[in-house]
């Protein structure tokens, strides 16, 4: 029997500083030391350990099609992330996973995609974006529109990639920040308001959103008002997932465990679950 709690040793290949603001977010590119690969699909997460410190769950942030490495974008916020942020390229960490369900990439084929992300919420959606933008897959999806929000210009993650993403055909990126800033030529304002300005082919669109709980709540109710059906609004939830395998009893919402039944849920599913997240 496989022991689901045993992690594998991995090495940090590269550390990329994402933000220039006080929100300290770094992207870690890591690979398994034994040469093995971690194959995953968009939406899944992994448990990262730092020996003697602890373990915490993180969503994948890299393309599932890049098999040589994985990337994780991590904000410095707690015990494990604090320790992680002091590590440099060449340091060893431990990984176990992947865990959880995935975005329904097959069902989403043929539809337009609306991505709405707030701050670090873009990280768990990046695998989906990169998956769709892969040349083998791009033709399977319709227009890709993105509404990317951050508190300020310095808070955007993956800024370096936006230009390349915009060049991909039928792709449109709208960037917004909370307050006006000098030299900013994008939008200013919150996503639940701006989403109304986007031209959406309602019957033919999947909306995928991730961000702070308040953003998920406000944007999803706006999208429902606009007429997007519940089952086509997808989000990914965060919980304190200790074990990742549905045993430890911490991440349940009703009888569903975010670690095995989630983290990706549609608004149709969430509407039937107790509101405890």
């Amino acid at each position: 029997m496989n022991n689901p709690y045993l992690p594998q040793k991995a090495e940090i290949m590269e550390v990329i500083q994402e933000t220039t603001s006080d929100l300290d977010i770094k992207t870690y590119r890591v690979k398994l030391l034994d040469g093995g690969t971690i194959s995953f699909m968009p939406g899944q997460f992994i448990e990262l350990s730092i020996p003697g410190v602890g373990e915490a769950p993180f969503g994948f942030a890299s393309s599932p099609l890049d098999t040589g490495y994985i990337e994780l974008s991590i904000k410095r916020v707690g015990l494990v992330t604090e320790a992680l942020h002091s590590l440099k390229a060449g340091s060893k960490i431990w990984l176990r996973g992947p865990f959880g369900n995935t975005f329904p990439v097959k069902e989403m084929e043929g539809s337009n995609i609306l991505i709405i992300a707030g701050g670090l919420g873009l990280a768990p959606l990046r695998p989906l974006i990169l998956y769709m933008f892969d040349e083998r897959n791009r033709c399977k999806y319709g227009d890709v529109q993105m509404l990317l929000a951050a508190r300020s210009t310095g808070d955007f993650i993956y800024r370096r990639e936006f230009e390349a993403w915009e060049r991909i055909m039928d792709t449109n990126i709208i960037k917004t920040i909370d307050r006006p800033e000098e030299g900013w030529n994008g939008k200013v304002g919150f996503p639940h308001i701006l989403v109304g300005e986007i031209e959406i082919d309602i019957p033919n669109t999947y909306a995928v959103l991730c961000g702070p709980p308040i953003m998920i709540k406000s944007v999803s109710s706006r999208l429902l008002e606009m007429g997007i059906p519940k089952f086509k609004i997808l989000t990914t939830l965060e919980m304190r997932m200790t074990c990742g395998v549905g045993k430890c009893g911490k991440c349940n919402i009703g009888h569903q465990y975010v670690c095995i039944d989630g983290p990706v849920f549609s608004m149709a599913q969430l509407a039937e679950m107790p509101a405890e997240y």
């Binding site: 496989n2 709690y5 594998q8 003697g52 707690g78 304190r240 074990c243 009893g249 349940n252 009888h255």
Partner: protein, 328 residues
């Protein structure tokens, strides 16, 4: 399988034989309290109708268990596989272990640590005669006189125990003892007064939203005693530490009654007050486990009722919930 007769005056001989090859865990008097502990002398074993204040779950799911050591690679802690006999387990605890076994071994993933402990444990059940104050296994529909969720089940019949051998592990224990076989009883021992089955029968969302959890949990002190002594509570947390320079990971019991149980690193807590935490405890026991594994995770052992410092009573809480549901 077979039934044999174990005369009570041969019990000590049996126990001493087992102690040579097994760690024998049995009810034992420690001060005033009766607890499941490793016993070294046959005379220390107390087989009576009392219920231990803690359940024997800690021998399958220890309160603190080292699960791995970090070195060049990660080594799973090879917990010395000690063959263990847990003797004198009452029906409520056996049924509870059934629930725990389902949680840990069913589904996509298997908890290998629990499984290993389970495989190395021989469970010997013991029939229970009377409900103690606080007990409500009858109301939960259990037959306290008999259970097959073990390797061997003992029924006290005066000068002897009737032993029902249920598995090979149980059979092994009696090998070469030349015990008299007994004819299979015509009927399994029955409880005379089985009442209806106390369940929460309703839709998850309705119970969640329509119950006045704030007033139900008002008295609760949030101490977590109920979860620690409960035979079905199985939530845990990993704790990492450095022992003698070596990083190790432990698995420790955790309790849904603690505020830190669900707190995120960001400070957001989905179950921030005791109302939510108490709701989780009741709903987890009576609804969530039932939906996921088919068992209600409460066997009516009454431990939480007897030990609660604030006099919370899960039986009346469940009854109250059902009455509210009927009236609304």
């Amino acid at each position: 399988m077979a039934h044999v007769v174990v005369p009570k005056n041969r019990l000590n001989e049996l126990l001493e034989g087992w102690m040579k090859n097994y760690r024998v865990v049995a009810p034992h008097r420690n001060g005033k309290a009766l607890v499941f502990e490793e016993v070294k002398k046959a005379s220390d074993v107390i087989l009576n109708d009392e219920i231990t204040y803690k359940s024997p779950k800690e021998y399958l799911f220890p309160q603190v268990e080292k699960i791995m050591t970090f070195g060049d690679g990660v080594e799973p802690e090879s917990t010395e596989v000690r063959k263990t006999i847990v003797l004198g387990v009452k029906t409520c605890d056996l049924e509870a272990l059934k629930v725990m076994t389902a949680v840990f071994t069913k589904g996509k993933y298997t908890d290998t640590y629990f499984e290993k402990n389970l495989n190395n444990t021989v469970l010997i059940g013991l029939g229970c005669r009377a409900e103690k104050p606080g007990c409500f296994c009858n109301a939960r529909g259990l037959n306290k006189a008999h259970s097959q969720a073990c390797d061997m089940f003992l029924t006290d019949s005066g000068d002897e125990y009737m032993a029902e051998i249920l598995t090979c592990k149980g059979e092994e224990l009696l090998e070469g003892l030349q015990l008299e076989e007994a004819p299979s009883p015509a009927a399994i021992p029955q409880d005379d007064n089985q009442a209806g089955v106390l369940e929460i029968d309703g839709e998850e969302n309705v119970i969640f939203n329509k119950t006045d959890w704030a007033s139900i949990s008002e008295k609760c002190l949030g101490c977590g005693t109920c979860t620690f002594i409960c035979p079905t509570c199985h939530c845990f947390e990993f704790k990492d530490t450095v022992l003698e320079g070596v990083p190790v990971r432990y698995r420790c019991w955790d309790s849904c009654m603690y505020p830190k149980f669900t707190i995120h690193a960001s400070g957001h807590n989905p179950r921030a007050s005791k109302k939510e935490r108490y709701r989780q405890r009741i709903m987890h026991k009576y609804l969530y486990v039932k939906q996921n594994f088919g068992y209600t995770a409460c066997t009516g052992c009454g431990r939480c009722i007897r030990s609660c410092p604030a006099g919370m009573n899960i039986k009346s809480v469940v009854t109250e919930i059902m009455e509210n549901l009927k009236n609304s």
